[in-house]
């Protein structure tokens, strides 16, 4: 018997029509369960005048109002039913794990998961780790203390479920992690793209070449970097490893993954999630080849479930077949940006992600950068602070090239501050590279 390329060959190769049938059946089951067990959703559905029996098609689902992060923040700020508020849909003795969001966009959301939910998290991660080539002979190094954040915990136990050997690399300095990684000859790493780049920089300072290590694959989570071609190229060059992205959210679950054949795209795990990709203006589903906003419903989550949660991520939908054989739809080029991150500078809509693509594509620049927007008089001023690699001098050609690329990508005229390597802050988990000082005025 040859080894399966798929974690579940049945679910991952269902016809598109059968996948939709499965999603509808699971959505209806979940909706009935939530109407019975979640005080929050019963009230929300009643207020919207929607009864679960009225949802008979995938189009009917759009009658259900979306759930927003702000709504959850509001619900949990009430001291009633602390710490989860009315979001909890099971008795408290069924809660097995506590996690929370990072709070990047406001107050963190507290997330309860039951024992079944925890298995579900692990299962979602195992599905994509298997697709990315993780096998029992891998030794996986995770260079973090995972704390209250869910992603790497789920990654850890999914590796274990697959049969990999897992090394939890928390509680060490970056230098010590690198030495441990080398000593143990780990074959795979799970980390944020920011930290993957930082490890490469520290390795270079130590006279180590990561490409000579045994690592042959890396899965990035927590930030969209591994879907940005210039960042992915840097990581792959430093590490001499294949770099994959994974998309997930504490509220939504681990829903997207790059496969071995098309690692730059993200497959949606449509057997476990309903991800709607909607035109932000009309609220209608986009066609294949069009960009839309992602709304997610985890179809099997029980303790703190969500119906139509707005991820605020934008992506380009494709239902074209993938060479890997999976029938799951894809997001071309991964998540393209967050609506949350979009801000207007001098009247122009600006996405900080666009700057990352420019900086990482310029060889003379280091990996870290910052973008600062501030008010000077009545005008918005936007400045890119970036680090020059060692032995690189500022030249007018370099400055002109950078300013032109920034202008082309964002439509904005930037100020430029090129500083020596090591000047800007380093991050372990999620990087905070964008500062909008106008909001503090």
């Amino acid at each position: 018997m040859t080894e399966s390329l798929y974690w579940n060959p049945v679910l991952e190769s269902l016809s598109r029509a059968d996948l939709k049938k499965l999603q509808l059946a699971k959505f209806k089951r979940q909706l009935h369960r939530m109407y019975e067990q979640s005080a929050f959703y019963r009230e929300k559905l009643d207020q919207a005048g929607v009864h679960p029996d009225q949802i008979q098609t995938l189009a009917d689902i759009r009658r259900i109002p979306v759930t927003t992060k702000e709504e959850l923040q509001q619900l949990q700020s009430n001291s009633e039913n602390f710490p989860y508020g009315p979001c909890l849909a099971v008795p408290t003795d069924r809660v097995a794990t506590y996690h929370q969001t990072s709070g990047t966009t406001g107050k963190p959301i507290r997330q309860a998961d039951s024992r079944e939910d925890w298995e579900w998290w692990i299962e979602c991660w195992a599905t994509f780790l298997w697709a990315q080539g993780f096998r029992p002979n891998d030794r996986v190094f995770i260079p973090f203390s995972y704390g209250v954040f869910v992603a790497f915990w789920a990654g850890h136990y999914a590796c274990e479920k697959i049969g990999c050997e897992v090394v939890a690399g928390g509680g060490l300095s970056t230098q010590d992690r690198l030495l441990k990684l080398q000593e143990l000859e780990a074959t795979a790493v799970l980390c944020t793209p920011t930290y993957g780049l930082h490890m490469a920089e520290v390795a270079e300072d130590m006279g180590l070449k990561l490409a000579d290590f045994n690592v042959n694959k890396m899965v990035c989570a927590g930030e969209p970097g591994a879907s940005i071609p210039a960042t992915k190229n840097r990581l792959e060059n430093y590490w001499g490893a294949k770099v994959f992205d994974h998309a997930g959210a504490t509220e939504g679950g681990a829903w997207g993954f790059g496969c071995l054949k098309e690692p730059s795209d993200l497959h949606i795990n449509e057997a476990f999630f309903l991800v709607e990709i909607l035109d932000p203006d009309t609220g209608e589903p986009v066609d294949s080849g069009e960009e839309g906003e992602l709304i997610i419903t985890p179809l099997d989550r029980q303790a703190q479930p969500y119906l139509r949660f707005t991820l605020k991520d934008m992506a380009l939908f494709s239902d074209e077949p993938c060479e890997c054989g999976r029938t799951f739809a894809r997001l071309k080029g991964g998540v393209l940006g967050r609506r949350d991150d979009l801000t207007k500078v001098r009247g122009v809509l600006f996405s900080p992600t666009s700057v990352e693509a420019v900086v990482r594509a310029v060889d003379q620049l280091g990996d870290e950068f910052q973008v600062v927007v501030e008010k000077k008089g009545v005008l918005d001023e936007i400045t890119l602070k970036a680090e020059l690699k060692e032995n690189i001098q500022i030249t007018p050609e370099l400055e002109t090239h950078l300013l032109q690329e920034l202008r082309l990508t964002s439509g904005l005229r930037f100020n430029l501050e090129l500083v020596p390597l090591g000047t800007l802050p380093r991050f372990e988990v999620k990087a905070k590279r964008f500062q909008d000082l106008r909001t503090h005025a």
Binding site: N8, V10, L11, L22, R115, W118, E119
Partner: protein
């Protein structure tokens, strides 16, 4: 994997589910948390197996 293969897996799964439920009840009856809590862990895995096996089987059998 065809319908019959999936059905065979589902049959085994049903037996495991029933056996685990019995084990948990007996553990509670005899006051053995070690057995009760391990049975609960098995049940969480049974739920996952159900998502992988029983859900697509229902779809195929419709």
């Amino acid at each position: 994997m065809n319908r019959n293969d999936l059905k065979a897996l589902d049959q085994e799964l049903m037996e495991i589910r029933e056996a685990t439920e019995r084990l948990k009840s007996l553990a509670i009856e005899h006051g053995m948390p070690a057995a009760e809590k391990n049975a609960e862990r098995i049940m969480a895995c049974v739920e996952m197996l159900s998502l992988h096996i029983s859900d697509p089987l229902k779809l195929i059998e419709e």
